[in-house]
Symmetry: C2
Subunit: 240 residues, 2 copies
Amino acid sequence: MRASDTAYAALRDDILHWTTPPGTVFAEVEQAKRLSLSRTPVREAFARLTSEGLLVALPGRGLVVSDLSRDTIIELFELRIVLESEAARLVAGRRDPKVFRELLDEFRLAPALLERDDDRDEYYALVTRLDAAMDVAVGSRFLMTAIRQLRPHLVRARRLARDNRKRLLAAAGEHLTIVEAIVDGDAQLAADATSVHLKKSLKNILDSVDSMATGAIATIAEPAPDFTHKNLTTSTIPTS
Amino acid sequence: MRASDTAYAALRDDILHWTTPPGTVFAEVEQAKRLSLSRTPVREAFARLTSEGLLVALPGRGLVVSDLSRDTIIELFELRIVLESEAARLVAGRRDPKVFRELLDEFRLAPALLERDDDRDEYYALVTRLDAAMDVAVGSRFLMTAIRQLRPHLVRARRLARDNRKRLLAAAGEHLTIVEAIVDGDAQLAADATSVHLKKSLKNILDSVDSMATGAIATIAEPAPDFTHKNLTTSTIPTS
DNA sequence: CTCCGAGTGAGTGTATACAATAGAGACAAA
DNA sequence: TTTGTCTCTATTGTATACACTCACTCGGAG
């Protein structure tokens, strides 16, 4: 594995897991020392993270972990709904029936799976397999690229959500509807069901966010103290 | 201006103007020498172009200018239609009426503008102003980022199209309909009119492509034969 | 007390040397 | 003739020194 990949993976994980919350400032030398690498691979990792929108350049001071406000999450899902509905529509037309028929059988068993809290991970794995199957079946390079661009931000947003069993059961039902539509080749239904699912998913996240103290995401992780007096924690940082 | 920006701009222009056609292989040292720079900024430019999908890594041999086949153009427009229709829908709801009312007046005069071939550039400039106004009015960071990602590819595709006066007049009418819908705040019409416009625009490009000899874009510039069968899709980074 | 400007330092931007790697071709063996 | 391997070489990957830029600060003038 290349050193730049190591740096990229490490920094990306830190950001996605809120270890380095929005507002955290990164500098090349500092991170190079921490990761025991030279500046070059760190620099490359920074460039990748910046192009993904996870970091934002702060002229003369370094790079700051981008903000993820309530409004940003809404914008994120607005686009996600458009893209994934379209993806579902395409998949319903182009799918390999066998693959999705198997997934359908599994999703029918999902509620049983969710009865026991222990198997929650197994359900998440199933959803991941569905995503992977869709990725393959979409067959549009550009659409997939656009969807992939959203994923890191979605991972960050998901960590704000609290998945209770009720929500998971509902989600399982929504997924079932989507897969059924795909197997049936009903493109419009697949698109609409995806839209429904994602809107409910967004609502779940927003409910979690709103129920947090002081209406703020910042509660999850306190920004480093030496940045709080700057206007970094406010959402005014442009993202390229 | 930073050296890496110089390198990026130079290479990007070459690719967008088909000076370096699909299949052209770039190497860091070679380009560094040509541009009288060190490898570092060239390397950074390569990274940016790769993340935009204009270059594709060819392990051990360098980077190759990505392919732009007929099918790719269709995929490109499939996504463009989805994104820009959505953008138009949002703008119709969030627009600043004054700005678009002015644009409306200008588009009403567009046919007269197009009567003389000389003023074609002026019409292109008007379209550019419309795009810029929409960019501002959309108000969604993620949607705009996604649209911007398509632009370089669209520039490449556009150079395959032959804009005759008839097509331009029709396009002017389509634009007029879009702007009218935005001024009226009719979101659905704005979206649909955008979809219509882009589908006609795609058809125009495809007609141009198809009327070229030997099925292709390759006529413009012969791709090196040994890259066409390679798997040139962009590398996939796991979402972890 | 406020404002302006030069100094200072932290941080990025660039060049370049050296290391690692992966294709390409030659050559030998089956 | 084919196939496997070995070596060579072109190209990228990494480290590091040095140059430059800009934000922050401190001091002096108003």
